[in-house]
Symmetry: C2
């Protein structure tokens, strides 16, 4: 890779449920190879993954957990519905493993930038499928990453990661490379899709002002999905 | 940020202990504002953080731990010297909290690309100081990040993160932003230095071919250090 250039595409109109997001996106993406990083929020909105909290009835389990972690029981109800399991809990904190296998706070449910103060936005049901629908409109040589903004253990601050992938191998295998001493590299797999998501996150701005970032200079190869980026629970020392 | 452009600088000669890395680097960095991401490996080499394994005598504690995790006792000895504590251990795996406060595998000790098969490279003693020494040669409006390649819990593949910072605030405070509904954003702190390190990692290549990446389009502001990026152990649910 000799140069990498990232820029926001747009303007992107306010996305509402039922919008044909792939069509919107395809009209904005320039010609040539590249990778498009799409903020999860507009994907979720187009797919109608918006819930009015007034419509949510918290279960007894959610009520109990909500009291324990000092959160809105209706939010906790949604978190439980979106999760396979709770990985950690503490006052104000619920770290979950979602049905997709993502480990993140509140199962990715977000109140910021939802349409109205009493609505929340859930993650897409299948972010790979969302990415593939957009990628199909862009054609070959052009990949799509759906990204979201997650916290990390050990480190302060958020970074964006890939939660859906289409049209590129998200993990780059460097096994056949050797270092300058001719020794095979021990560090062999780079999380290319997460690197791209993190880079694009710098240009998105948090107020969803720039939900589409176009990355030129990287020619996507292969294919893959979110599953490639997820460590299996039995090989994970931190859940 | 309207456009972000990243490219490798070079060619960078093979760096050896005692080299004036700041001078080498300053001669390669173009004019104008930007952020330079420097691979940890060349910083460590310039600073003489290379150890011949033949010179390492493993303690009884290191011998015991090495047998448990199936690693070279001399490597484990160095890992223990570089660590405050072991966060997790398993066959083939030692996740450590280094004296800097970084949580990473093997205390950041790396055998790849070391000068000779029986040598390893340790992290810089003070990566912020290393970054500041380079930044001082670049002048104001130009920041320096020393980066290294770490694994993550939950996710496959490696990404680069910042281990030393000079000339920019590594965490971007978005507290004063509101979303489109006028609601204050709940997600408020972005790890800008880690986003830049991750982006630059795509261009470095793993064989240390491109240890200097110049990022244009971001104008560094403020100042800070690695400590800003580290979650305090008492606020961390994963160590």
């Amino acid at each position: 890779m000799r140069e990498l250039r990232l820029r926001p595409l747009g303007p992107v109109p306010e996305i509402v449920p039922g919008d044909d997001l792939p069509a919107h996106v395809a009209s904005l993406v320039p010609d040539g190879p590249g990778v498009l990083v799409v903020a999860q929020k507009i994907v979720s909105k187009a797919e109608g993954r918006i819930v009015a909290l007034a419509d949510v009835r918290a279960s007894t389990e959610a009520e109990k957990l909500a009291a324990e972690v000092e959160k809105d029981p209706r939010i906790v109800e949604l978190v439980l519905r979106e999760s396979r399991r709770i990985v950690r809990k503490a006052p104000g904190v619920l770290i979950c493993e979602t049905h997709h296998g993502l480990v993140c706070a509140n199962a990715g449910i977000d109140q910021s930038n939802a349409p109205g103060a009493d609505h929340v936005v859930l993650l897409p049901v299948d972010p790979d499928r969302s990415a593939r629908a957009i990628q199909a409109r862009l054609g070959s040589g052009r990949a799509v990453i759906v990204s979201d903004t997650f916290g990390r253990p050990w480190r302060q601050g958020l970074v964006d990661v890939a939660i859906g992938v289409a049209g590129l191998t998200p993990i780059l295998d460097c096994t056949d490379q050797v270092d300058r001493a001719g020794r095979p590299l021990r560090v062999t797999f780079m999380a290319l899709a997460d690197q791209l998501a993190a880079a694009a996150g710098m240009l998105m701005g948090k107020a969803a002002g720039h939900p589409l970032i176009w990355c030129e200079g990287v020619t996507p190869a292969g294919d893959g999905a979110l599953a490639d980026l997820l460590r299996s629970p039995e090989r994970d020392l931190f859940r």
